[in-house]
Symmetry: C2
Subunit: 347 residues, 2 copies
Amino acid sequence: MADGRGSRTGTSGGRGSTPGLADVARRAGVSVGLVSRILNGDSTLRTRAETREQVLAAARELNYVPHGAARALRLARAGAVGLVVHDVSNPIHAEIIEGAQEALASSGQVLLLANARELADGGRAFDRLVGEGRIDGLLWQGGGFDFDTALAARASRTLPTLLVNSRPLAEVGSVRLQDEQAAECAVEHLRELGHERIGFLGGRPGSDLSERRKAGYRTAMGTEDEAFVVEQEWDATAGYAAMGELLARGTQPTAVLAANIVLGTGALAAARERGIRVPEELSVVTIHDAWSAAHAWPPLTTVRLPLRAMGRRAVELVLDEPGRPELVLADPPPELLVRASTAPPAD
Amino acid sequence: MADGRGSRTGTSGGRGSTPGLADVARRAGVSVGLVSRILNGDSTLRTRAETREQVLAAARELNYVPHGAARALRLARAGAVGLVVHDVSNPIHAEIIEGAQEALASSGQVLLLANARELADGGRAFDRLVGEGRIDGLLWQGGGFDFDTALAARASRTLPTLLVNSRPLAEVGSVRLQDEQAAECAVEHLRELGHERIGFLGGRPGSDLSERRKAGYRTAMGTEDEAFVVEQEWDATAGYAAMGELLARGTQPTAVLAANIVLGTGALAAARERGIRVPEELSVVTIHDAWSAAHAWPPLTTVRLPLRAMGRRAVELVLDEPGRPELVLADPPPELLVRASTAPPAD
DNA sequence: CTGAAAGCGCTTACAG
DNA sequence: CTGAAAGCGCTTACAG
C-alpha cells in the first residue's frame, strides 16, 4: 500500500501495475491493433458492435490510459505546449497562463511552464525544453531583454514558436493586444478630467511593450516631451522608483499613466509615502486589471485588455497556424474601468 | 525558412531535420549503442579517448539532443513533475511554483503546471496529467476543497504524490510550513504593541491551512472566542468581505491577523473604505510576504515563511523519497517583518 | 472485418 | 573495447 506506484514495468504485455494496450487486447480477446483503432475512434473501421463493446468494456474495467511517451514517440507529437515567462508572480502573466491552460485543456494538451532566465542561463535548460521533443509549440512572453527575442528566434528553428504580448520578429510570429489604444484611452480619460501635466511610467526601456504603450501615450498627448517620461523595469520596485524620479524632476505632474498594474502599485506607494494624496493631488491610471487593482487603496482606475483571451489564442495559433502568424487581438477592445484613483486636477 | 520546424520524420536513421542517435553514430563511425553509452557517461565504459572524442564531436556538430519521448518510453521515467494549483495569480502560489522550477531545472527536469479545478471537472484532464506517464511525481497545492484531498489520494495510487502547504493524509505525504508558529508570531507582535481585541481573518473554513493558522492565533490569544474569527475564502474579495463582516459585528477589534497577504490586501481596502485609518485605528498583519506587501499602503507588516524553499523541497521529496514523506520546513523559521500597518492601539 | 508486423528513438543486457 | 539485438507501448500501412 505504501507503494502502489505503478510504473509500467514488465516485459511484453505489461504485467506491471499500469495496464497497456496488450492487457486490454488480451481481456477483450482481440489484437492490440484493433484495440488501438477502436479506442482512437478510427472512422474507417466497421467493427461489429459487439466486439467494439467488449473492447470498450475491457478498457474501462482495466482503467486503461494510453502511455503518453509511447504515443508521442510514435506520432511525433508531444501533446504539450511550452510557455516561457519571466515572472509568475506578475498577475498579468498569471492571466495569460490561465488562458493558455484553458485552451490546452480543451484540446487535450498539457502546459509546460518555464522560466525565461533559466533558459537564458546557458545550461541545458533550453535544449531540454525546446530540443527534446517534449512540446509541440512554444509561447514566449518576454521581458524586453535581448535574449528574449534571440532565444525565441532560436527556438523557432526547431519548433512552432510564438511571441506573446509583443510584436513579431522577422522569423517569429506573435499575438499581442491593442496596447497603443489602451494607453491612448487611459490618457484621454485623464485629459477629459482636465489633466495636462501627465507623466508616463514605462517598463524596461526599449522593450516592445513599453515602447508601444509609450507611443499611445504620445499620440494622445500630441507631444514627444521626454520630461514626463520615466522607464525602468516591470516590477513594483521599479514603479516605486520611477514615480520617485518623476516627482523629483520638479515637473509637477497632476496625473500619471503607469504602463501596467504592477508599476501602478509601486507608483501609488511612492506617492503616498511623500504625502501626496491620490487622487486629489495626483491621479493614477494603469493598464491591465487584476485583483490587486480593485483592492488597492485607492482602488485603481485601469484599462482592461483581454489577457486571458490572448493566452487562449496564443495556444491555438502556435498549434494550428503553420506560417508566421501575426495577430493583434482587438476584441474585446480596451475598456476603461474608472475607479477611485483618478479625479480632476486640484484646481 | 518559413518552415524549418523540424519534426523527427523519416524512417530509420532520421533523415528528418532533427538528428538522432543514428546520425551521430554514422558520423562518428560507431554504433548507436556506443554513442548512447558515451553520451550518458556510462562509467563502466573504457573507450579509447580518440573514439570518445569523435563521438562527442559528432554530437556537437549535429547539435544532437536526445528525444525525450523515446527516453521516457525506454526508461519509464518522464523527466517531469506536475504541480497543481488553484490560482496562479496568487503570489503565494507563484513563489511555490518558482521554487519548484528551480529544483527541477537543477535536476534536469521540467515542470508541468495544471489547474485544480480543471482536474476536478471530471473530464479526461486528470488522466491526462496523472495516468499517461507524463510525470514522475505530482505536487498538489490544494485550496481546502474536498476534491483536493480526494484527487491527491487518487493520484497517489498511480504516482508519487505530495501535498504542498497542507498536512499529510493517511495515504499521501506532505510538505508544509510552520503556520501555527507564524500565526502565533504575528499575534504576539500585536499583543506586544498592546492590542487585546484582535481579529482573525481566515481562508476557506475547514481547510487545513486556515485551521492551522487559526490554531496558532488561538494559542497566542489563549482563547477560543469565536467573535473575532471570520473565515470565508482565500481571495482578496473574501478578505474584503471578511473584514467587513468582522467590523459589522461591533466587536471593535483594534487589530487583525489576515491568514495570508491576499486576504490582508482585501482587508486593508475594506478598512480604508470605511474611513478607518491603518495603523492608527486598526493594525493589520498578514502571513507571507510578496511584492504587494511592501507596496501596499500602508506597507504591510507580515510574517515571512520560506515558500520558495518549500517548492524546492517538495520536488526533492516527491522524486527521491519513496514512502510517505512528511516534512514541516522549520528552517528558516517564521520571520516577522515590521512595516507600517501595525502600531500600538489608539489608547 | 481483423491480425501480424514494422518502426518511432532510445537503452542495456548479452555476446564476442 | 564495441556491436547486434531486443524491447519500452503505441499506431498504421499492409495482408488476408
